[in-house]
């Protein structure tokens, strides 16, 4: 059990760091990719904690499908978060 401490510490740093980066960054694409990274870390956690069923679900849904659907959405809207004018995304989309 003791050797497991090292990968767990690495995973904690990776997951928490990705989570903080997803909140802080202005580029929405980077935020979505780091959200996928959180899911990857979580699924490895589930595997270490002996829940392989949950790990499989998290890997397939969280890492692949959700990330891709968010990336498609970002491609259709805007890539950068605009702090001063929060309505810019709505205005840009109203041309349709």
């Amino acid at each position: 059990m003791t050797w497991l401490i090292i990968p767990i510490i690495v995973l904690v740093i990776l997951t928490v760091g990705a989570a903080i980066y997803a909140v802080v960054t202005k580029n929405l694409l980077y935020a979505v990719v780091s959200t996928g990274l959180i899911s990857l870390g979580l699924s490895l956690f589930f595997f270490i904690l002996q829940a392989p069923d949950v790990a499989l679900t998290e890997a397939a849904i969280g890492v692949a499908l959700t990330t891709i659907i968010f990336i498609i959405t970002i491609r259709n809207t805007t890539q950068y978060e605009d702090e001063e004018n929060d309505n810019s995304a709505v205005k840009g989309g109203s041309n349709d």
Partner: protein, 239 residues
């Protein structure tokens, strides 16, 4: 700036309350007794090696019906909002440029392997970790890979809805057989076979094949609907 401070304060409050709640529960200690019942009954009576599967399908079968219904309703709602037929002369706007040669060759190699892995996961749901939902999601990931790599890769929505309907009807009718036999929904009525063999666990294998096909069809349909309605240049056309 104030927004960010508020976000971190909110995160701190949520984190503190989570830690506060979980500190009452001793970590790793054996607390519940219903788990013992499942762990004992699953291999002995039902002959299912993977206890999680036997809980999901046999002991908690009605909950699984609810989950399948929720997924179906979500896919249906998304399609009814986003699906539209192509206008005449409208080109496929999925991608302007063809994807790179490396991606194309890699997708060709990986696609059959991922499909086989997904089929393995849901066929062996009662023996190894995984099950219908996981296997279906893996197959949907494979078709996602093909959809974003090849412009010409088309998904037939008619076929998808047929697969989905047949799998859903199979799931509910197998569950109803258990009800008609005087037992509960999704109760096992087939011979259970031998532990750790492929033909064991009674109805679980059939149920998971149905759920796997259903989830794969639903998620593939969702991805294809979202991708087809992807029109990055629509604003420029209207202006």
């Amino acid at each position: 700036m104030i927004k960010k401070i508020l976000i971190f304060i909110l995160l701190a409050v949520v984190g503190y309350s989570l830690v506060d709640v979980f500190s009452y529960i001793p970590f790793g200690e054996h607390r519940d007794t219903v788990g013992d019942f499942y762990l004992q009954q699953s291999p002995e009576t039902l002959k299912v090696a993977n206890t999680v599967t036997s809980i999901v399908v046999n002991f908690r079968g009605f909950d699984t019906l609810g989950e399948v219904t929720v997924l179906f309703l979500a896919a249906l709602g998304l399609s009814s909002i986003m699906y539209r037929r192509k206008r005449k002369g409208e080109k496929d706007v999925r991608a302007k440029k063809p994807s790179s040669r490396i991606l194309q060759v890699g997708a060709q190699i990986i696609f059959p392997l991922v499909v086989v892995l997904g089929a393995y996961v849901f066929i062996h749901g009662h023996l190894t970790p995984g099950g219908g939902f996981q296997g279906g999601a893996i197959i949907a990931t494979a078709s996602l890979l093909m959809l974003i790599t090849y412009r010409k890769f088309k998904v037939n929505h008619n076929t998808i809805s047929w697969i989905e309907s047949i799998a859903g009807v199979a799931f509910v009718s197998i569950g109803m057989v258990g009800l008609l036999k005087g037992m509960s929904f999704l109760e096992n009525f087939l011979p259970t076979g031998e532990l750790n063999s492929l033909l064991s666990g009674g109805v679980i294998g059939i149920i998971y094949v149905a759920v796997g096909f259903k989830v794969a069809a639903e998620l593939t349909g969702v991805i294809d609907t979202v991708l087809l309605n992807n029109r990055p240049d629509s604003n420029n056309e209207n202006n």
